[in-house]
Symmetry: C2
Subunit: 243 residues, 2 copies
């Protein structure tokens, strides 16, 4: 996540108009599924990697977390986080998550929402997170689904009349950089396989508790494009516990 589109003025403006930015957690299609796999925050220390506007930091604080550290590389995101989602237990800090360093066992819970697909190497990060967690600590995250990141463009495949035919998968086992268009801007993301995500956890002392591909919720089905989200998996949610 060393590249940082979110401090680009135009990109940030468009991002700030997205449902998930305006409405917070309730505006995110995956939130209900994600909430179900969250651990109990009461009295826990929490690290949020790629915290963005800080909605999840606030949720953790409101659910009893004793200390929440939100990390993001974007100055603009953190400014908004401080504006919208401040609380006594929450601290925000600007950093690239690859550069972080904490003493072993610093956190009870490590959380990340839709940020790891901006990170080039997941395995070393998973190893670090395992060290940063207390034994029995929770690691819960969402990422873009490998099916969604494989091809690169992250767009549907259309017929000549502009109707969606299907979603294209290609280059699945060729991990690495992909150039996607997000909010009209070219954004660099990193594709990796499901195997790579899960093996990084299993190889670094985690036990998998939940692996969930969230479906669009019933009550959002009238949002334009949401019905089509039944046709491909776009996100992957993982809940794990450090042994």
């Amino acid at each position: 996540m060393k590249e940082n589109r979110y401090d680009n003025e135009e990109f940030f403006r468009k991002y700030s108009e997205m449902n998930r930015s305006v409405l917070g957690l309730k505006g995110a299609g995956e939130w209900k599924a994600l909430e179900k796999i969250l651990p109990d925050f009461s009295g826990k220390t929490v690290l949020d990697l790629g915290c963005g506007y800080g909605w999840h930091c606030r949720y953790a604080a409101e659910h009893g977390a004793s200390r929440v550290l939100g990390i993001d590389i974007s100055r603009r995101m953190l400014e908004t986080a401080k504006e919208k989602n401040s609380a006594g237990q929450i601290e925000y800090c600007q950093a690239a998550m690859e550069d972080l360093s904490f003493p072993d066992g610093s956190f009870d819970i490590v959380f990340s929402s839709l940020a790891f697909h901006y990170v080039k190497d997941f395995e070393p990060l998973a190893a670090s997170i395992s060290r940063w967690l207390t034994p029995g600590g929770s690691f819960v995250f969402s990422v873009e689904h490998p099916v969604f990141t494989a091809y690169g463009s992250q767009d549907w495949y259309y017929d000549e009349n502009g109707n969606i035919l299907h979603f294209p998968v290609d280059r699945y086992y060729y991990e690495g950089e992909r150039q996607a268009i997000f909010l009209g801007e070219r954004v660099t993301k990193y594709h990796r396989t499901l195997t790579t995500y899960l093996s990084a956890l299993l190889d670094n002392g985690f036990e998998l508790r939940r692996v969930v591909e969230p479906q669009p919720p019933e009550e959002m089905m009238d949002i334009p494009g949401m019905q089509d989200e039944m046709r491909r998996p776009m996100m992957l949610l993982v809940g794990a516990v450090k042994r």
Copy 2:
């Protein structure tokens, strides 16, 4: 797996000519990855669901299993299994796996290779397998990958000159029956999501040990079509342990 194409004469003939039928385990692209996640068979009782020609039963017997029960719905497959892969510890039995019933804790290892995508409901089967296993017992299986089964036809998407463009994904969250063409015959398979496969295990007392999407092995890359298998995940291997 109640439908049984393998007793159709023409289908069986074509199946018998496939590399995996002629060469056994060495002819199966996923075998090396699958072998890596197999448990130790020494002195263990093994159930093989959808055993086909019995190659895996023989492998288990040759690796010290004390008793191996191979189940398949196809009479023809089992005839060949008895011919090619017999041993004192191996018993073959014709049955649909949905109809099986064993006392609790009957097996140390339950194994299945590329058979569960013929089964309509995976969850009740996972529950049964959990009961049939001894505590600490292993459940290892391969299935067609949800990416491969989602669309239905299981074929690439081509341009007007017959060149592969990509692999199509569609109807991902609509689980159920799919009609695919396999060896020139219409075959009924069942698509389910990754979430459904893994949740059935996590909800039935299993701990996930490995989740692997096997890549085509280097030494098979000169087999026609194998290079293209780098472009999509075709199989999913899962290794789990009963708590």
